[in-house]
Amino acid sequence: MFKILKNVLFNSLRNKVMIGYTFILFILSWGIIYLQGDIEKSVASLLSVVLLLIPLVSIIIATINYYNSQEFIELLMTHPIKRRTIFLAHYLGIAWVLALTFLVGVGLPLLIAGGFDISVMYLLATGFLLTFIFTGLAFLASVFSKDKARGIGLSLILWFYFSIVYDAVVMSALVYLSDYPLEKTLMFMTALNPVDLSRIIILLNLDISALMGYTGALYKKFFGSSEGIIYSFGFLFLWVIIPVWKATKKFIKKDF
């Protein structure tokens, strides 16, 4: 497992796309921090980067990488190595490389500018977990798709669903059912979307959450508490594990 992981890591870290991407993230974060001048505001601005860009880039790069590694995967499969090991080593390799680019590109400027601020920590933790979640979703989409084009298509649809469609559905449900007390339901529904969950974790640990009215207060009461934090991170971990587990199960039974 470790030897394959080492090879995947080594080959991906040499990749020029990854180096370029880290550089762009770094410049972007640095620019935002410089323009805002305040660490809390910078975290709020970087929130959109973390919630939209990180999942999108993770899911696309991981999908492309899966298809590009197919030759290597097939070669390894003719040797005495468990399929599960091959698959998980690839997943962990790509996820770690993407997570590293995020930590260097976004984390480093924030830590230099603001030190170990608690909101920075939440931003980095959720961004880190989102990378693993969307890499897992990418691998899930890839094992279920026959060719690269379909795989990338399915990955984009997944991203689109979690980033935009899901919110639209929840919003319209809220508008139509505004006469009913939906706070609890809504809190549960956020757990079904890792992007929403991350957004809430970060927002509610910033001071601006005071501006969100009654629902915001309820949210703050729950997600601001240590119990709520454990609950939401617990769900994020489930979002990491379930897609990868499902993808591994499919991969083990696949024909090559």
Partner: protein, 236 residues
Amino acid sequence: MLQINNLNKTYGKIAALKELNIAFNLGEIITIVGPNGSGKTTLLKSILGLVIPDSGTISIDNKSIKDEWQYRAKIGYMPQINRYPENLKVKELFTMMRDIRTDCNTYDNELFETYKIKEIYDKTLGSLSGGMKQKVSAALAFLFSPIIIIIDEPTAGLDPVSSQHLKDKILKEKANGKLILITTHIMDDIDELADKIVFIVDGVLRFNDTKEALKNNTQMPTTGKALTALMEKEYV
């Protein structure tokens, strides 16, 4: 040694293998022949565990290979289409494979030396020609001293000299008591190598015996003519 019982495999609606029963022993060279799409590669891939059969068993030394992976240490595989990571250098490929195969410490470097793989060590696998990739593939298939060697269409892209080297190596390994499975369309290769001919049409085993038996059955003077007769008879 290698035993296959009632093996079935379908891709969607197309049946690739139907109730296949066959057994192979060490010290034999088996050539698997049949028209394109007859299930030859599917059979080899099932033995390797790349393709998972719908039903039936494959066992090596009386042990089923289902959900197993250690048994692949016994098998060397040279695929029909050589697909390697494009950016990887030849040297990196060999270092990596030796690094991963911790189970093996006796390397068979004969083909590695004959094909002078060291001279192309700094080239990336993507820049190699088809024939060069086949040489890399052949060297890799024999490298970990396997006792079963599976070769899918070996000599199609190789030049005559390299092709002869490979055939000599195959004959040598047979003399060393190994089992070699080859699929091929080239009659000369069959004539030169085959101890037994296995003939598959549409996933069904039609013939499994020696060259001499084939010639006697079909009343033909050469293996090539005998096989052609067999194929034509099957099609009518």
